[in-house]
Amino acid sequence: MDFFALAAQNLMTPMILCFALGLAAALARSDLTVPEAMAKAMSLYLLFAIGFKGGVSVASHGLDASLGLSLLAGVILSFALPFIAYALLRAMTQLSALDAAAVSAHYGSISIVTFVTATTVLAGRGIEAEGYMVAVAAAMEAPAIVSALWLVARSGAGPRMDARLWHEILLNGSIVLLVGSFLIGALTGDGGMTRIESFIVSPFQGVLCLFLLDMGLVAGRGMRGAEGNLGFGALAFGVLMPMIGAAFGLGAALILGLSAGGAALMMTLAASASYIAVPAAMRVALPEANPSVYLTLSLGVTFPFNLVIGIPTYVAIALAVIKG
């Protein structure tokens, strides 16, 4: 009962409700839309703000070996999770090897909005987390793509992979902005924060609300287009895989000795699935893979699952395991 009260309380935040509103509007075929430029502007804002805050927090708490180890753990997780995802997909669904590999890349990588939402939940409950988790998020974006392409190459399908694509993936806009603003925050510290606090801290949750409204709209449109495209097995994967990812994330956090907040974020990262950077890379490297499969799973199933059920659960587990 306490759990349900907590769940209800979690559901009753403006952020989750905005996502639900977007979803409902798209499913009801309302013409409510967010202009592309506004969606991109909000995502730049969120990346900049979250990166900067992480950097400032590192500047004031200092750095130690744990940053390096956490980055390493993130990279390993991102490399490893696609193999688990791929095996599960081949066992649970009818997806071709190619589609399964493409999906698995998404689940090894991360969703920055899911991460941002988790930081907001933590902040709302007064739980501190390591500031450098933002850098870990950036480090986890790309490795999963390598694993997925290796899985494809092994099966002989011949992904289109070249130096050029590496460059695009490693220097994609969101990694650059996240890492760049993290460094800016770390370099300018509290002084820098004072200057731009009323831009990046105060309005942050409000912008996140409108951004989640847009995510709901996009996810809902995707669902409408994909109706019946995904079998039960695939849908089950979309819920099961984040839990497996979160378990691995928890393991890593325990090994690293992260705080409860840091552990919740590591779980969230491992549990989340990319829907921006990886899809674009897949269009280039694996054009024959079906985008509606990976987009629907990542944005239509796993993203809402994490938002509504996943994050509060990960936070609760992290608190139980680490505070306990």
């Binding site: 202009p35 969606a39 289109r160 050029r164 287009g225 674009a280 269009r283 280039v284 985008p291």
Partner: protein, 102 residues
Amino acid sequence: MQMHPAKRVEIIIEAPMEARLTEALTEAGVTGFTILPVLGGSGRSGQWSREGQVGRSGMVSVVCIIKPERLDTLLDAAFAVVQRHIGVVTVTDAQVLRAERF
């Protein structure tokens, strides 16, 4: 006014492939092209729209005006890029002013 025959090639291609296409064109000696935005569309792989999207999703339309005799070079270069990708290549006969530019 003096007009000269030319070909208008329109290539609708996925946005993540745009840079690869324009580089292939440049390498093939095509020096002029114009990129138009696309709002949405529909094809064998379903319907899509750019509204509210954050990533480099959707398609763009690349328009090249070229001398007729250079068409094959251009098509070879374009085809090498679009071959494995979704996309549409259309060629129409056209007339241009200032042929020396093409």
